[in-house]
């Protein structure tokens, strides 16, 4: 299948953002584990794995469209030194991802690539959910205070 104009470029841009996100979440998860916040560790690690599945799907789709996937490039990984800083960095990454995906959906509609658009739309749903989760955490910290929030993260969800 030959790709419509501009689609491969967008797919590669999203792939780069995705590969960056995998590593950012992975490091954040590990830092939470190191600090003893087991519950956060598991949540953020799962997110990293989800991004990995997206990356796999993107690479396969680029090849399916006879393009060359770029696994070389990564953006800046923003590592937060504290849990709230991690949330801030992750929220920013997700918002950037949302912007990329939204542009992708618009472009695919314009050139008539509805398969790729469908894939982007599925990804947007995940991004939205994740933004919502991060915003909830930040709001909870505001309401109950950081100490109480963190104390609740020591135990793993059973």
């Amino acid at each position: 299948m030959k790709a419509k104009q501009g689609v491969i470029e967008i797919l590669n841009k999203i792939l780069t953002a995705d590969l960056t996100a995998i590593n950012q979440y992975f490091v954040h998860a590990k830092m939470c584990a190191n600090w003893g916040y087991d519950r956060l560790h598991h949540h953020v690690k799962q997110r990293s794995f989800d991004e990995m599945k997206d990356a796999e799907e993107l690479v396969e789709h680029i090849l399916y469209l006879e393009g060359v996937p770029n696994l070389q490039r990564m953006n800046t990984v923003h590592v937060g030194e504290t849990v709230p800083e991690q949330f801030k960095a992750d929220l920013k990454a997700e918002q950037e991802m949302l912007a990329l995906l939204s542009d992708g959906v618009v472009h695919c509609t314009k050139v008539g690539d509805f398969t790729t658009r469908h894939m982007f739309e599925d990804m947007v749903k995940d991004v939205d959910q994740h933004i919502d989760w991060i915003e909830t955490q930040m709001e909870t910290i505001k309401q109950v205070g950081l100490e109480i929030y963190l104390a609740e993260q020591i135990k793993k969800d059973s």
Binding site: L63, V77, V79
Partner: protein, 159 residues
């Protein structure tokens, strides 16, 4: 825990190599799937998972040693236009990786960091197994020819 001299440097280099491997195997797995070689696809996916596990252990250990894991860079990802080219590129990569691990293990012995040495020794076992697997594939291709080899990799490994 504070790291002994030079250990974090080696761990950083090994981590970059592992992250490079994750990307490279992810790419090669997808390429094999695209070509219809399901069995090779599964093996490359398995290799990628193993390298993720290595990266995971390394990041944990860097943090444990109060270091900052660098996950922003990967070395050059080798592609290829055929299965044989992929296998050759991967063999070269694993050989370099093993060399780096040997150097790092020797350094850990010298400075007396036996925990890191132990971690790296586990990794080099996997790396040498990968080397052996790639060598076997390339030798088989030489013995039976590429076409027969590829035909055997269309089905997944389960049936």
């Amino acid at each position: 825990m504070k790291a002994k001299e030079g250990v974090l440097g080696y761990l950083g280099r090994v981590l970059t190599a592992e992250l490079t491997a994750v990307h490279q195997y992810l790419l090669h797995a997808a390429m094999c799937k695209n070509w219809g070689y399901q069995r090779l696809h599964e093996h490359f996916s398995h290799l990628a998972d193993e390298e993720v596990r290595h990266s995971s252990g390394l990041i944990d250990h860097v943090l444990y040693l109060d270091g900052t894991p660098q996950v922003e860079h990967v070395d050059t990802i080798a592609g290829g236009s055929s299965v044989a080219e992929l296998l050759e590129a991967d063999l070269r990569f694993e050989l370099e990786d093993a060399e780096l691990l040997r150097e790092a293990i020797a350094h850990c012995s010298k400075v007396g960091d036996f925990t890191t040495r132990h971690l790296l020794e586990h990794m080099i076992i996997d790396t040498e197994e990968h080397i052996d697997w790639f060598e076997t594939q390339l030798r088989t291709i030489k013995q039976v020819g590429l076409a027969l080899y590829l035909a055997e990799h269309i089905q997944d490994g389960k049936s």
